[in-house]
């Protein structure tokens, strides 16, 4: 039993009625982390002293001045900068790096009264699907410690699934919020590109990266997105589109909702359990008054190749700033500046990061630029047009989040191509820039499966409304892993 069984609403009720204080919630987070993190391995840095002091101060704030997230603890992925709290992107090259300002989302969390308890492990620079690419530790899946939590926001999902924190922030470039949310049985939203400011998010692929919330239920997720969304003068790619009151639309009513199911999302490469759980979910949605029709997104199979070329090209440029000069790791015993760059980067980056930097550098080189980079950008246009076409006639697109449940630690680590294939169902969404959520929709051998609901640009509202209706009609989100019960 933990206080974090409760939703944000129930936690606020408990605070209001005096059952517990904000300090108790903060202490509960650190107590759970102490008990469970030896197994789960989710946290890279803890903000204990400051968080507890902040909680005690906040307990003095009158109730009428508090919002719905006030005083609630949250974990933050380690590629989001937090002033005075070490931020490494799980890379040796940033070991010991102390940010000197807060990311916009971190400021917004503070404005909402949330308490950052620590930084969450990830695949190095968000490149990976299992958290095995972290330079520091391998986070485990709370449902079965022999399995991966997914990636790259693996620990963001695992910490929420284990009840160490009720909320976390992740980032999603090709599925990095949704795939781990599916693997860990929690709710993860990748908002529309531009919905959330990227200022202070260490860039991987700037045209694809987006920060988003991970929670145990849809209502809390909508609440947290509302808190972090909005245009930001510090991010010129953030969109000046009004942020709706998401929770206001959560009424369980989806009568007349037009759902499209792409045949490409239920075909070859998708496991039977994942397919069946989606087919059952569609029956539930039909029962609630939605209509379901099959559609085609004909360019889906090309998304993976286009994504690796584009994301790696952008990464090769973004990661050039890590040169050992102004921050982070610096190689020793070098004789000149060129050697300093080369040795710092060779010793500081892990293999997956090096592979992608080299793939990107190659794709952008004279002689290969047109064949790789430009070609991939053109294919991106075709993929985006597939989605535009479907959304002319439908409100949401539904399919599985991942082809299978979480795989075993070590199973795919030696084969980059097999590892990449875990993201075939999430990657096209980033290329199209549309929003998508993953919510729990079943189990296979005790491991969770995820339902992906994709919406139109800036229509997170309809996604949340659909996800909420489904959640109300099922009980997958109320189930917790055994590890949850630790005393």
């Amino acid at each position: 039993m933990t206080l974090f069984e409760r939703s944000s609403k129930e936690l606020q009720e408990g605070l209001h009625s005096g059952d517990f204080k904000i300090a108790d919630l903060t202490n509960e987070a650190f107590a759970r982390i102490e008990k469970l993190d030896g197994d789960v391995q989710a946290f890279l840095a803890l903000n204990k002293e400051k968080a507890i002091a902040q909680a005690e101060e906040m307990d003095q704030v009158p109730f009428e001045q508090r919002g719905p997230l006030f005083g609630l603890p949250i974990g933050v992925k380690d590629n989001i900068v937090t002033e005075g709290l070490e931020t490494t992107c799980a890379s040796k090259i940033l070991e010991g790096f102390m940010p000197i300002y807060d990311a916009t989302v971190v400021k917004k969390l503070r404005d909402a009264g949330m308490i950052t308890v620590g930084k969450l492990n990830m695949d190095e620079f968000a490149m990976g699907s299992s958290n095995e690419n972290s330079a520091f530790k391998t986070t485990k899946n709370p449902w079965n410690l022999d399995h991966v939590p997914g990636g790259s926001s693996g620990a963001s999902a695992a910490s929420v699934a284990a009840g160490e924190v009720p909320f976390s922030l992740g980032s999603d470039t090709g599925g990095s919020i949704r795939q781990p949310a599916a693997y860990c049985g929690v709710v993860g939203m990748k908002p529309t590109y531009g919905r959330v400011s990227r200022f202070g998010l260490v860039a991987f692929a700037s045209s694809l990266d987006q920060i988003g919330p991970i929670t145990r239920n849809v209502y809390d997720n909508a609440l947290l997105l509302e808190a972090i969304a909005g245009v930001d003068a510090n991010d010129s790619t953030s969109a000046d589109v009004p942020v709706p009151n998401y929770v206001a639309s959560l009424n369980g009513d989806i009568k007349g909702l037009r759902i499209a199911v792409p045949k490409e999302f239920l075909g070859e490469g998708v496991g039977e359990a994942a397919r069946n759980s989606v087919l059952e979910a569609l029956e539930v949605l039909k029962g609630l008054g939605a209509t379901v029709e099959e559609v085609s997104l004909p360019h889906s199979k090309y998304a993976l190749a286009a994504y690796y070329i584009l994301s790696s090209s952008e990464a090769s440029s973004n990661l050039s700033r890590f040169d050992g000069i102004r921050y982070g790791f610096r190689a020793e015993g070098v004789k000149n500046l060129m050697e300093l760059y080369k040795e710092t980067r060779a010793q500081g980056f892990g293999d997956e990061v090096k592979r992608r930097i080299m793939l990107g550098t190659y794709s952008l080189s004279a002689g290969t630029y047109d064949a790789y980079y430009k070609k991939a950008q053109q294919v991106r246009t075709l993929i985006k047009e597939d989605y535009d076409k479907v959304f002319e006639n439908y409100d949401v697109i539904v399919g599985p989040t991942a082809p299978t449940p979480a795989f075993k630690v070590g199973e795919n680590i030696d084969d980059p191509m097999t590892m990449y294939a875990n993201d075939i169902l999430t990657i096209p969404i980033n290329l199209a820039g549309v929003p998508a959520i993953s919510i729990p929709c079943g189990f296979e051998n005790g491991l969770p499966l995820g339902l992906q609901i994709i919406g139109k640009h800036f229509d997170e509202e309809t996604i949340y409304r659909t996800a909420f209706a489904y959640e109300q009609a099922t009980d997958f989100n109320t189930q917790t892993p055994q590890i949850w019960e630790v005393k």
Binding site: F97, M98, I100, Y101, Y193, S207, A233, S236, T237, A239, K301, Y302, L304, A305, A306, Y308, I309, S316, S320, D323, I325, R326, Y327, R330, V334, K335, N336, L337, M338, E339, L340, Y341, K342, E343, R345, A346, F349, K354, R355, I357, M358, L359, T361, Y362, S365, Y372, K374, K375, A376, Q377, Q378, V379, R380, T381, K384, P416, M417, L431, A432, G433
Partner: protein, 97 residues
């Protein structure tokens, strides 16, 4: 588009400012070759006259008023610099004698 040779990988590593051993170049040539092989499938698509997408939203330059704003303090900016002298970042020799 052909398989990457070891020499090509070494050249790319140099462009990317990554020190690389012979062994690593061999391993990466093999792995990157598999990825570029996979990327060949994009050639199945005719993209004549298809515009490339670099951003999904119609993004325009965002300007702010030309008013001076206070930046970060120099002392704070130097906080993460490993080697420094007199408020400046120190690096190894750029030109060799």
């Amino acid at each position: 588009m052909a398989k990457l040779t070891k020499e090509e990988v070494k050249h790319v590593a140099h462009l990317a400012r990554l020190a690389i051993t012979d062994e690593e170049a061999e391993k990466f040539a093999n792995q990157l070759g598999k990825i570029t092989d996979f990327a060949e499938q994009l050639n199945e698509l005719d993209t004549t006259n298809v515009k490339p997408t670099s951003h999904v939203l119609p993004i325009v330059n965002v300007m702010r008023e030309d008013v001076a704003q206070k930046g970060l303090d120099r002392e704070v900016m130097m906080l993460n610099v490993k080697e420094q002298e007199a408020g400046q970042v120190k690096v190894p020799p750029i030109l060799e004698d």
